[in-house]
Amino acid sequence: MGESPYFDRFALQYDWKNHRRQIAGEELIIHCHHYNSKLQHTIEGAAKIDGKQIITSSAQAAFAPFLARSTRPSDSQAEKYAVASALYAHLGFGMLDLTAIDKGEVTASASHFVEGWRAGFPQRSTPVCTFAEGYIQAAARVAAGRHVRVRETRCMMQGHPACRFEVSDGAGDADLVVERRRFEVPASTVPEYVRSPNIDDQKIYNALIEMPIHGDAQGVIPAFNVYLANMPALFYNLISIRFVEEMSRVGLGDTARQLLKYDAETCGLNTFRGILHSAEWDGLIAPMVRQEEDKLFGIIAVSNALGWGNWHCLAHEPGVSLSMEARNGYEALGYRELRASTREPVCLMLTGVSAGIMGLIYGEGPVPERIGQFASVEASCIGCDQPSCRFDSRATS
């Protein structure tokens, strides 16, 4: 992707103090194909709500302003579509050919989400590129001012050599209106965190900021033994908040929260298992590891560098318990920007991941059997007007 004429528009800005990644002013979170496809599977699989619509409209709402900031007033319409394709590939979502969009057709020859579904749900036989549908709708809006409806008619998941999308004018749902209020976490005393003397956090941060986490020639990011993608935090927050709200309307709010935590726990196990077995880990972090808990501190440093937030260990008893504090988790901050404060903690991803990481490091048996071996709760949450988010994980037996 280095040869893309638009590469300089996508330069990474990293906020070292808060561990935030930004491209073109958009805050990005790096997750992997396992988590992204699992999240989609959960949201679209809920029978009583329209999960597909949540994903499509959230993708459109998250990417339209992002694309608008990535294009320039002097760009022609064709250039704006080219920027949209290049950004899609740069972020790691795959190869999207938008050159025939005016004829009603878009194709994709590589896909982050298809790879996720192949890995996690290989039996799936219907199209899976809901996220791409929303992205294409955003691209048409930004490049041509068109309000289009996009539907995937053929998918690589079904064995086709490329995904194909039909683009039609006008019809479809009204745009999702997103109002964001500026929110800043009130200052509070930073506690003394528990660290490993063997793990050099700064070296890990430096390496992960320096390494090229952007799409390869196929627009995907094979790194750390997973396919990574740079996703707007806004997208994750919109789909999670709206999923819980929609499910709450049909009396299933608690179920929705449990499902999102479960997806995150699985992510903690699968994503970080991949990372632990990767050449990147062997090259960068394994030489620092002296004892089992060092892996935990290495993983925490990696997750901070991936933009998940500024989270650190408050207390840790190896094999038994872990207490983590996040001072700017994207879920809590996003909730406060998009909604008011709430009584229910909102950081479902970090809650689930805490349990997953403990299961990965200290659990027993094959990975699927490690789910549930540790349980996490969010004991305090910025979403509930508290100064930071705290996650307590403990062995269940």
Partner: protein
């Protein structure tokens, strides 16, 4: 265990992933041959990783060059994999 041998890697991005453990003193020569067969080696100094990426395969290792992780993507390519096995000197043990 006699080198070279391979282990299935279930933690990886594709289901068709193996780690090949080759003789350490052959690693550099093997990477030279991989580069001539598959394309240029991309080096990522920040994490000490080297890799070659093709539409069908990703081949990667630390800068030490061993073990070599081979990920087959897009369904893999049996002929290309056979060529890699020849370079590694790897032979499937009899069933």
């Amino acid at each position: 265990m006699k080198l070279p041998f391979r282990k299935r890697d279930y933690s990886c991005l594709t289901r068709l992933t193996y780690k090949y453990f080759v003789e350490p003193d052959r690693a550099a020569a093997i990477w030279d041959r991989l580069a001539s067969e598959l394309g240029p080696i991309q080096r990522i100094p920040a994490v000490r990783v080297q890799q070659i990426s093709t539409p069908q395969l990703i081949v990667r290792a630390t800068f030490d060059g061993n073990p070599i992780t081979v990920m087959q993507r897009n369904g893999g390519d049996d002929a290309q994999l056979a060529r890699l096995h020849a370079i590694f000197g790897f032979e499937e043990p009899p069933a």
